[in-house]
Each structure stands twice: as structure tokens, then as C-alpha cells.
Amino acid sequence: MRIEISQLTKTYKGGVHALDGLDLDVPTGMYGLLGSNGAGKTTLMRIMAGLLRPTSGSVRIGGHDITTTDGRLAVLRALGYLPQDVGVYPDLTARRFLDYIALLKGLDSRSARRRRIGELLEVVALTEQADRKLKGFSGGMLRRVGIAQALLADPRLLIVDEPTTGLDPEERIRFRTLLSQLAGDRTVLLSTHIVDDVAQTCRSLAVLAKGRLLFRGGVGELVAFADRRVWTVSTAGPAPAQGRIVAALPEGAGMRYRMVSLTRPAANAEPAEPTLEDGYLALMESAQATVPTP
């Protein structure tokens, strides 16, 4: 399902401009939404999930306008949503909880429901814990219940908000691999502040900062942002003053820095191969000069 966002603005009651004239087109497939904390990712996703009304602007998902009652309903029928802080009823078992949500999503046939829940428990590797109460589940397990819940009605649009925060490295990798596999002909919109999650799963992405779009395009294009801007510097003295340090490794008596900088940060600096993270940092670096703080 294609998502077309135009001139989307959300101002919270306190006067916070969480989204500020956002224009964005999201195609089918896996799509990353990258931004630091407070960038407006959750706000955007809550608007798309019909939980929040935009202050102005329009969002069309699969041709449906989400601000109309009918449009919203049509979108919700095709939507799977994993909220940032997914909540469950602690007194239900995983299977029971999924059964309840499946009913709310209109899976009325008991046998179809049972089959679908069985499949999904298998997908998220919770079959063995399925009949335990959710109050005993770890954060990672709850996240998996959350994704199973989102997939119940076989959604054409899957929105996942920071799904890997708080997971241990193995779980994180498993989880994002699962998301990529789910993409196929679906639209999967993944929000995160972890660059690596996007690097490992998405071909295209958008970068959000302070409610505005800083970048949209392919992963390669964002990496290219850091072309000729990534350097390694070995020094025994103080760190170079200009540019942004990405990594610091002790080396002999001194340090070896990896840096993003528009100009050569030190005389002995060597150019280095950029990564997506470098591209993101370079983007942030150059944006700071152009995006005024509200």
C-alpha cells in the first residue's frame, strides 16, 4: 500500500510542533524512518494508525484519506501496528490475548482464528510459551507478541515503531530479519533511531528531524552523503577540533579516531569508506547549519 503524506502538521496542545509540513511518499516494501528521539516518528505513526488527528495536511494510504471515517476504517482493516510501547493484558495468556485482538480485527471464524494464531506463534517462536500468562513475559517476548498481534489479519501495511529498542543483540537481529522477511509485497514502515537496523533491512528510507523531512531516498544515496567526508586520524595528542567523532579506538600510546567532517580534520587524516551511519551523521551535521531550531 502506498502512503502519500503531504504538508502534514501536528501541533500538540502544549504547542510542540511534532510534525511540521511533512511531505513523504512511501512505496511498497520495507521502508525505514530514521530520526533521533523527539524527531516526530511516533507522532507520524500514530497519525497513520488513526490514533491521532493531524493538525493539518493530508495522509492517504492506499488511496484512502485517513481523516475521514470511512477512509480510516478502510486503512485500519489493512493495517498492522506495533506501537512503540506495546501493552498487553497481563492476566491473559499469549494465545488468549491474540484471540481477543483477532476478534477485534474481524477474524470471526473460530477455526480460522485458531489456525492463524498457531501459525503466528510459530513465526515469532512463542509456541511453547503460548499458554503462559503475559505477566511473566520478557520485553523481547512481549515485542514478539506485539508483532504477532500486528500480523493477525495479514495486513498489507505494517507499521512498527522502534521495535528493536531494549532488545538484546541476538533478539534484535532476529527481530529485524523477521521484519524484512515479512516485507515482500507488503509495505513495512520501520521507525528507529538505530541506523544499523535500517542499514540491515531497508533499501529506502527517510530521515526526520524536529518534525521535518531531512532526507528521502535510497540507502546508497544517504551513504553517499558522507562521501569524502569520512576520515581516520591517528594521534597521540588531543582529538581534532573540527568534525564529529564517530569512533575512538586506543592505538599504542594514542588514539585512532573515525570522524565525519566536511573538511580534512587533520593533516595526517586518511579518507575512509563511508557507512550508512556516517551518511546519517553527515546529514545531521550539514542540517544543523540549515534547519533553524524552533
Binding site: 488513526g50 491521532l52 506501537p83 510501547d85 501493552g87 481477543y100 476478534l103 480485527k105
Partner: protein, 262 residues
């Protein structure tokens, strides 16, 4: 709506604290009120009817406190737990879900109370050998008890949207004694008015008409204009008032939700 009704019912009825708190208050009820003898001094010709009405009156003194307190956290806990985002992003209608929650939660929370009532009716039937008690208990439950529970359930579900559930429970207990139990002459109160939830208007209006003398000759109290004389017509009016209050409270909750969506 039916899915929410079913699951809210299940979650509430399996809640251990529901049974424990009801158990404790029931023990207080048995210890302090004539639940075992059902003797409030009524000498009605129809003793069975009077006994079943008495049982209802006794139960509607203390157990609604438990009922209200146990309903109180059910609506707001969706937000506290963070399930609301999951529920709200399903295509299920929110009004239907609110009604399902209301009916499911209130029905489950009323189960122990109903058991205490109908249990007494069964015991009465067996010990007195009067099967009519079963029929009367059903009628009395529907007319004297259920309308009050319908209103109180809505109040307790919605109230915590405005104040935290723990504070609401304290206020609810105060409200219960002030607005339903204390004598009307003590201070301006909703006690014994058409807005009181204890069910006296139905009990006296329908079943204990010979006992109207009990309330006669009382000194005047504030808000007496809200205390029409008992009669079947006023009993029906009271039932209507209870249901109307519930509908008003639930509608207010929907409006509140729509407003806070933005």
C-alpha cells in the same frame, strides 16, 4: 462489542481480588446486618416477598461499595497498560468496545453480589419450604438491584477518567455513605432521593407498600423535593433515572475520548 464483552467479563471474573474483597465485605455484612435472619421488622402479609426484598436491601447497603471499587480501574487500565494503542488501531468501533467493556465488566463484577443474593434465596427456599422465593428473588433483583448497579457501574467505569482510580475509590466510598446510606435529616444528601442507587424506590414502590408508614412523619430535610412518595409509578421513574444516568455517563466518556484524541 461481543468480543470485548466476553474478554472483559473473563478477565474481571478471574480476578482473585474481586472474590477476596467481596468475601471480606460479605463477612462484615453477615456480622453486622440481619442477613441470616432477614428480619428488618417487616410483618407483611406476603412474608416471602418481604424476605426477598429485605435481602436485597441488606445487600445493597455494603456490597455496592465493592462493586464500584472493583469496576473503577477497568477503563483507565487500558491506557495505563498501553493496550489502548493496540485496541484503537483495530477496525472494531470504539463505541461498541466501550459498551462491551461496560456490560462485560459490570456483569462480572455483579456476579458475586448476585450469588450472595440468590444464594440467600435458595437457602430461604430450602429452609422455609417456599419455592415462591426463587421467583420473587428474580423479580426483586431485576427491579430493586439491577437499575442501581447499571448506574453505579457506569459511574465507576467513567469516574477514573477524571481522578486516579485509588482516589476515585475513596471518593466513591464517601459518596456511597453520603448519597445513599445516611439519614436524609443529617445533612443535605442524595440519600432516599430518586437519585439514590440503593433501590428503596423499587422495594417500597413495588413490594413493601404496606410499610410506607415507616417513612411517614419524618422531619423535613433538604432536597425533599427529590423524595416523592413511594408508588409503583415512582418506582418505574427511579428505574428510568438510573438507566438514563448510565447512558449519560457513557456518552460523556465517548465525548471525552473523542476530544482527547486530537
Amino acid at each position: 462489542m461481543t468480543a470485548t464483552l466476553r474478554y472483559e467479563f473473563l478477565m474481571q471474573i478471574r480476578r482473585p481480588s474481586l472474590w477476596i474483597v467481596y468475601g471480606l465485605v460479605f463477612a462484615v455484612l453477615v456480622a453486622t446486618l440481619p442477613y441470616l435472619t432477614l428480619d428488618l421488622g417487616f410483618r407483611d402479609a406476603d412474608l416471602v416477598k418481604a424476605a426477598m426484598t429485605t435481602a436485597a436491601k441488606l445487600i445493597m447497603t455494603l456490597l455496592p461499595i465493592v462493586y464500584g471499587c472493583m469496576v473503577a480501574d477497568r477503563l483507565v487500565r487500558d491506557r495505563r497498560l498501553g493496550v489502548d494503542a493496540v485496541l484503537d488501531s483495530t477496525p472494531a468501533g470504539r463505541t461498541g468496545r466501550l459498551i462491551g467493556k461496560y456490560v462485560g465488566v459490570c456483569a462480572a463484577t455483579a456476579v458475586p453480589l448476585a450469588l450472595v443474593y440468590f444464594g440467600r434465596a435458595v437457602v430461604y427456599t430450602v429452609t422455609e419450604g417456599k419455592p415462591a422465593a426463587l421467583g420473587w428473588s428474580a423479580v426483586v433483583f431485576l427491579t430493586s438491584m439491577l437499575p442501581g448497579l447499571i448506574y453505579l457501574g457506569a459511574l465507576a467505569l467513567i469516574g477514573p477518567l477524571l481522578v486516579p482510580p485509588m482516589l476515585f475509590r475513596v471518593l466513591f466510598v464517601i459518596y456511597w455513605f453520603w448519597g445513599n446510606l445516611i439519614p436524609a435529616t443529617m445533612m443535605p444528601t442524595l440519600s432516599r432521593t430518586i437519585f439514590s442507587a440503593t433501590g428503596d424506590y423499587a422495594s417500597y414502590g413495588f413490594f413493601l407498600q404496606e410499610r410506607l408508614a415507616l417513612y411517614e412523619g419524618e422531619p423535613e430535610a433538604a432536597l425533599d423535593f427529590l423524595r416523592p412518595a413511594f408508588s409503583p409509578a415512582v418506582a418505574w421513574l427511579w428505574m428510568g433515572v438510573m438507566v438514563a444516568l448510565a447512558v449519560a455517563l457513557l456518552s460523556a466518556a465517548r465525548l471525552h475520548a473523542i476530544r482527547s484524541e486530537s
